[in-house]
């Protein structure tokens, strides 16, 4: 014995002591302990406070169903609120803090709520706090919020890392108790691919907590031997510390493995792994959870589940008390008394709700058959219980058993409803997810012998269904124990409140009140009283409450039904679901071929979808972004600029019907594009809305290459494949996305041809006559490197786009810049690109926002009515063709020194700022260094007819209101002379 609460024996390694702290108190335990067992071993009984009344709470269970013993584990950024002490493995240096109190745990100021309990009954908050109206956000709610909640987040980024993994198996077995181990042995010995997962750090389930025998030896020893055998099988994967949290479609299960939670530090390893398990068959062997009986004052520290008291005694060698009583409605509970008595603990009383003969003799115990516990005493821990007879018995621990509920949760994740079984007074699984079977206590087979047989049989059957050979031998054997449970839910004679949901403080009275107020369906009961909505999801509370509701309504429990069990089985950290996808790795980053080149030159980058693009290239002395952008624009328009436009989507289109196909994909005609020519194309969705534009070049008779906008590259390709495969499968056309294969550079400005003359191999004539505006062709560059040249212009200047295999991209950028030195060539980024396209009135993402018709863009005449194309028919709908519709035009400030606000709405001069007067909005603005003032594009009603009119660009959200003149969207070179030069 190492202290008054610690016994000899059990799988606890006493040769090693583990120091830990609880609320700053230094304590010690041993390997094999949980925080809960170590606290009990140290005589710590008050562990936390309940949610609503701030009642003292202690350890109630020995597993993941724990409603009461919640702590903040670890410190600093590693703080984990609401950690169940019953599943937290002890490690050296562990630090835990109690939570949900103000002041101290022992003297919690918020315990005043308990005194006010009569006024805080179920749903009280729906009936008050309404006056005065403004007090809710200012007074009531802040007070409620501050006192609600449980533990605290650290407020810092989670410093641990998390992994995700994918596993495949023939058979997933959930739970490594007797049924799960028997199943795994049967399947493993037959050579099947098996995954055996258990939430505990020691496999064996209740075999470790009981004194049953299997195959003639102790259950715990048999389990350990079975685990050793399974570990030796290379087609069996054991996943201890792994909770299967959800059953998803088609045999996919989610599981959370805790990899380093039992260590003092993760040391760079992932804290947890979220497994997605693809199983052909699954056996649910998740066991059962004991349920309490509700009686007056049943929430005090020291009142515990009987099976938990037994687990602490047998597995952890800890006495939950020194003078223990038992309150039960079944034979199983009696085993707690027997086991404790064997360990030398004083068992003072056995109160059995059943009016029948005593089940066994327990030396020294007062046995009361047909007994009722009606009240308890003890402020921070149980001191005494009172019986219905008036008798009082001094106890520091009362073990309670109201029977067991099968852990049916995973069977409900596909909507299956549990069904009530009278014989065991519990819900058992109803309809199962496809591929799942249930074995052992999870299916209501509560004896070890039955669990072993069912597990074995379930595995053999699963293998048979999969057509795998079964060579499993016989099921392990055990003697049968009886339970003889007699339904008994609450002590009607209770004095004081009788708790159902220990964490959320839902009592029998609350259920009775909910019934009286009409909240009679189980969902109403749950939602009105908060029953089962705490961190334990009512694992120990729900069935008792249903039974009381059934009593109230006069229906059976079967008729009353249950609420839905939803994933996860036990709570899963958000970070585990996110895995590595956070921070920089939240989403993949796509880099352009010239990225490194740009980075070396100090480029500022901007996210464009998944891409990072150079936004501008600051030069020494430039302190403000616009200095750089203005320079890039002026230098491009004045001489030549180079921009990496690789991010544009590129689609290679080939086949005898490629031209016809394009003619149907684009709204404008493509039936007559000559080889060696490029054409601008506008794409509509089938609903007639413009969604993308770009150019398509005809490289050969049956070979085209299309560019799309950066953001729509994926969508356009998807839509084209849809058209190809589903709409016109008879057309001979093939598509391949080549966005990644080609690097593309815009070379723009009056000197672009001269610059390219130095890059493009001399045998290619790129003079204006040989290679005019909208020409294209395959060329060689830099002495034979393959390339494609397009004479197209987004900037409005004489311009080209030069395309090389992606691996030459960076080299070409360097070559272009070197060749451009004599012209003072400039690299420009997306900002300058944007300025120049606004100066030219080209629509981009701000205009092509999915709400825009061709008519709004002034392109209605492009939509050919002589052919079938996507979107043609529905683009003719009347509201999309209103005479007074929105039209894209340009805007400039009346006072040229003012900056235009993008996102401003247009109002007529003198019109009130109201939606009825809203005439459109400013889509894009830029500073035009060439014009020397701010310019904008926007949609305004009837815009073309209103050129010259002055309206207001009203920007209330930024407190601005700018008088603007409606002008042509083509601010520069409206006749396009530059680009044809």
């Amino acid at each position: 014995m190492s202290g008054p609460f610690r016994f000899d024996g059990g799988p606890i390694d006493r040769s090693v002591s583990l120091a830990f702290r609880f609320d700053g108190r230094s304590l010690s335990g041993h390997p094999g302990d949980t925080l809960a067992s170590a606290l009990l071993a140290n005589g710590v009984r008050l562990v936390g406070r309940s949610f609503k009344y701030h009642r003292p709470r202690g350890v109630f269970t020995a597993g993941s169903e724990e409603p009461s013993a919640l702590v903040e584990l670890r410190g600093g950024a590693w703080r984990e609120p609401n950690t169940r002490a019953t599943v937290a493995e002890l490690f050296d240096g562990l630090e835990a803090f109690s939570q949900n109190y103000r002041g101290s745990l022992r003297r919690d100021l918020l315990a005043v709520n308990d005194l006010l309990a009569p006024f805080l009954s179920a749903g009280f908050y729906y009936k008050t706090f309404m006056w005065p109206k403004s007090f809710w956000e200012r007074v009531y709610e802040p007070v409620i919020r501050a006192s609600a909640g449980l533990g605290r987040l650290s407020g810092e980024a989670d410093p641990d890392s998390y992994d995700k993994g994918f596993l495949h198996c023939d058979l997933l077995i959930v739970g490594a108790g007797p049924a799960g181990l028997a199943a795994a042995l049967a399947a493993g010995r037959s050579g099947a691919r098996v995954i055996l997962a258990d939430e505990d750090f020691v496999m064996g389930g209740r075999l470790n907590a009981e004194t049953h025998e299997v195959n003639g030896r102790s259950g715990a020893d048999w389990a350990a031997e079975a685990v050793r055998e399974l570990a030796s099988m290379n087609r069996v994967r054991l996943l201890p510390r792994t909770t299967v949290t959800g059953a998803y479609d088609h045999g996919v299960y989610g599981a959370l493995e805790r990899r380093t939670d039992h260590l003092a530090a993760a040391n760079g390893k992932p804290r947890q792994v979220l497994w997605r398990i693809y199983s052909k068959r699954a056996i649910l062997a998740a066991g059962a959870t004991e349920r309490p009986i509700a009686f007056g004052g049943n929430d005090r520290p020291g009142v515990m589940l009987a099976g938990a008291v037994r687990a602490y005694a047998n597995r952890f060698a800890v006495g939950a008390g020194q003078r223990v009583g038992l309150f039960t409605n079944n034979d199983d509970g009696w085993r707690t008394a027997a086991d404790l008595a064997r360990k030398g603990v004083e068992v003072a009383a056995i109160i059995d709700a059943r009016d029948r003969e005593s089940v066994a003799e327990v030396p020294g115990a007062r046995i009361v058959m047909g007994g009722r516990v009606t009240a308890t005493r003890g402020r921070h821990g149980l001191k005494e219980v009172a019986l219905a007879t008036g008798e009082r018995i001094g106890l520091d621990c009362l073990a309670v058993s109201g029977g067991w509920n099968p852990n049916v949760h995973l069977t409900c994740h596909h909507g299956g409803k549990p069904v009530w079984r009278d014989g065991i007074a519990a819900f058992v699984p109803g309809d199962l997810p496809p591929g799942m079977t249930v074995a052992g206590a999870a299916g209501g087979a509560f004896t070890t012998a039955a669990a072993l047989i069912e597990g074995h049989r379930a595995a053999v059957e699963a293998l048979g269904e999969l057509g795998l050979p079964a060579d499993a031998g016989d099921a392990p054997g055990a003697s049968d124990e009886a339970a003889n449970v007699a339904p008994f839910w609450h002590v009607a004679e209770s004095r004081g409140r009788a708790w159902l949901d220990l964490q959320n403080d839902v009592t029998v009275k609350d259920v009775v009140q909910a019934h009286g107020e009409g909240f009679r369906s189980v969902e109403h009961l749950k939602r009105y009283t908060t029953l089962g909505m705490a961190t334990d999801q009512g694992k120990t509370a729900n069935v008792g409450a249903l039974a009381i509701m059934a009593e109230q309504t006069g229906r059976t429990i079967a008729e009353t039904g249950t609420t839905m069990f939803r994933p996860p089985y036990t709570p899963v950290p958000i970070a585990a679901f996110a895995g590595r996808s956070r921070g920089r790795d939240f989403r993949p980053t796509r880099l352009t071929p010239s990225h490194d080149w740009a980075a070396e030159r100090g480029a500022v980058f901007v996210e464009a979808g998944a891409w990072l693009r150079a936004q501008w290239f600051p030069r020494p002395g430039e302190t403000y972004w616009r200095q750089s952008v203005d320079r890039e624009v002026l230098q491009t328009r004045g001489s030549v600029g180079i921009c990496d436009v690789t991010t544009l989507g590129k689609i290679d289109i080939q086949g005898r019907d490629a031209q016809e196909f394009l003619n149907r994909i684009y709204a404008n005609g493509f039936a007559t594009l000559a080889v060696g020519k490029v054409r601008y194309g506008l794409m509509l969705r089938e609903d007639g809305i413009a969604y993308d534009d770009g150019t398509t070049a005809r490289l050969g008779e049956n070979h085209f290459v299309m560019t799309t906008t950066t953001v729509n590259a994926v969508l356009v390709f998807r839509n084209m494949e849809f058209a190809r495969q589903c709409l016109w499968p008879g057309l001979d056309v093939h598509l391949i996305s080549v966005t990644e294969q080609w690097a593309q550079f815009a070379v723009a400005g009056p000197n672009s041809r001269a610059l390219l003359g130095k890059i493009v191999d001399p045998e290619h004539d790129i003079s204006n006559e040989a290679f005019p505006f909208m020409a294209c062709g395959e060329v060689g560059v830099c002495g034979g490197a393959p390339a494609r040249l397009f004479r197209i212009s987004f900037s409005g200047e004489l311009a080209y786009e030069l395309v090389v295999p992606a691996r030459y991209g960076e080299a070409l950028m360097e070559a272009l810049m070197a060749a451009g030195e004599e012209f003072d060539a400039v690299a420009y980024g997306t900002e300058a690109l944007g300025v120049m396209r606004i100066e030219k009135g080209h629509a981009a993402a701000n205009e092509l926002n999915g709400q825009t018709t061709a008519r709004m863009l002034g392109m209605q005449r492009m939509v050919s009515k002589r052919k079938d194309c996507i979107g043609n028919i529905l683009s003719e709908r009347p509201e999309m063709n209103r005479e007074d519709g929105l039209e894209l035009v340009g805007f400039r400030p009346v006072n040229r020194s003012e900056e235009l606000p993008s996102g401003a709405h247009f109002l007529s001069i003198g019109a009130e700022a109201a939606m009825a007067n809203d005439e459109g909005w400013m889509t894009s603005v830029a500073w035009s260094p060439e014009l020397g003032h701010s310019i904008g594009l926007g949609f305004i009603r009837n815009g073309h007819a209103r050129i010259g009119e002055t309206v207001r660009a009203w920007d209330g959200v930024r407190g601005r209101d700018v008088a603007v003149e409606i002008v042509s969207a083509h601010f520069l070179d409206p006749d396009g002379e530059r680009l044809r030069g």
Binding site: K127, T128, G518, A575, F586, E686, P878
Partner: protein
């Protein structure tokens, strides 16, 4: 029974045994003036406003399960009126104004909590779109504030502003946005309607309509045929199924939207935050749970459950946005059956069948619309004309080319 502090004290001192049922449990009559099909938030609100605003009390609400078992019982509780388009924004602003007076109106504390909603932006383009939206909101009489990075940082220091992938540049803040205790909305409207004489009939599934010569005369139910002069369907995700009984095809698909709540935590997030670079939005309930969600799974479904990829996607968004929530544990996740429409906007309209009305297509955003939906639907049923703020929410709008497509993704429900 009127609810008040005094009532609580009185009942508390007498053992809370005197509380009266919140609603009656009446047997259905053979005929009603108006039957509302669907006892979710919108159906109950419709019944409430039929009675309170139009004096129509010969009304029954037929609910196949329990009152409030629709999406009002499984949403993420956010209310806001930060819409962009003229077909939507005035409607949602009316809803917001109704939320603001709801509790005093129905004498039920639904915890309408205007702690604000912020939609983040991460690029200049998104900022421009936010400005356009904010201006549209103000023009419609709503409130909007464009926050730059510094102002946002002062309000929400816990966001990952310097996220290496999508740094936060600011947000559009609607101070009047917030959350409402969702179940209480259903109960408050139910109680209010019941007290005005509306029959709320639970466990009464509608299995067909009594349509003769193009006129609807009532409904068939599990509990027999019930006659009515007007039948108003309000069944959200079951719209396709129920309107199918009347032979109507709708511009609606039913999808699954998952939602999540963590264990209770001490206050960490004051208002509602919506990420602009991933699918994630979050608020914290008064009980302390972080309530969050993201995108719909994307496949048609009536199963009210989703799959892991979307769970992971949503949590990835959360971790990218505010990595301090990593150690908060997801307690429960569930799937709602959402009626996704072809433009992401709803319908409140008559149908080609005389006497049969339709309200649906709420996508993932029906909760915030509950008061205005009920108010405008009641207006349509009682007066025969659409309420001005719902005048664009017509079933024929796609034929006319008048889609209300806030996201600009076209007639593909799973993209809205």
């Amino acid at each position: 029974m009127r609810y008040s502090v005094l009532q609580i004290l009185r009942q508390g001192l007498t053992g809370n045994r005197g509380w009266k049922p919140v609603w009656r449990e009446p047997e259905p009559k053979r005929h009603y003036d108006t039957i509302v099909v669907g006892g979710g938030g919108h159906g109950l609100a419709t019944a409430y406003y039929l009675a309170s605003a139009h004096g129509l009390t010969d009304v029954a609400v037929l609910e196949k399960g329990w009152l409030g078992s629709g999406n009002v019982g499984r949403n993420t509780t956010i209310v806001r009126s930060n819409y962009l388009l003229p077909g939507n924004e005035p409607f949602y602003e009316l809803s917001m104004k109704l939320w603001e007076g709801l509790e005093q109106d129905v004498n039920y504390n639904a915890m309408v909590s205007q702690r604000g909603i912020i939609n983040l932006y991460h690029s200049d383009g998104q900022r421009d779109a936010a400005a356009r939206r904010g201006n549209a909101m103000i023009l419609a009489g709503a409130d909007a504030v464009l926050l730059d990075r510094e102002a946002l940082q002062r309000k929400c220091p816990y966001l990952d502003f310097d996220n290496e992938r999508f740094p936060i540049k600011g947000g559009l803040w609607q101070p009047r946005g917030g959350t409402v205790r969702h179940d209480a909305v259903a109960w408050g409207y139910a109680r209010g309607a019941d007290r005005r004489g509306v029959d709320l009939i639970q466990n009464c599934e509608v299995t067909g309509f009594d349509i003769r010569n193009g006129v609807c005369h009532g409904v068939e139910t599990q509990r027999g045929t019930i006659g009515a002069d007007r039948v108003a369907v309000c069944v959200a995700g079951s719209s396709g199924r129920v309107m199918g009984y009347a032979g109507l095809r709708l511009p609606i698909e039913s999808h699954v939207l998952q939602a999540f709540v963590t264990e209770g935590l001490k206050p960490a997030i004051p208002g509602v935050i919506t990420y602009g670079a991933g699918h994630f939005y979050v608020s914290q309930s008064d009980k302390g749970g972080l309530v969050f969600g993201g995108d719909i799974d994307g496949y048609n479904s009536y199963a009210q459950r989703g799959n892991l990829p979307m769970v992971e996607d949503v949590c990835e968004g959360g971790m990218a946005l505010m990595p301090m929530i990593g150690r908060a544990r997801v307690l429960r996740m569930w799937g709602g059956l959402v009626d996704m429409s072809m433009d992401g906007s709803p319908f409140i309209d008559k149908t080609p069948v005389e006497g049969l009305y339709f309200n649906g297509g709420w996508n993932y955003g029906g909760f915030k619309a509950t008061p205005a939906s009920g108010y405008c639907y009641a207006h349509l049923i009682a007066t025969g004309a659409p309420h001005p703020v719902a005048a664009e929410m017509r079933l024929d709008r796609f034929e006319r080319g008048a889609a209300i497509d806030e996201k600009g993704v076209g007639a593909q429900p799973n993209l809205h």
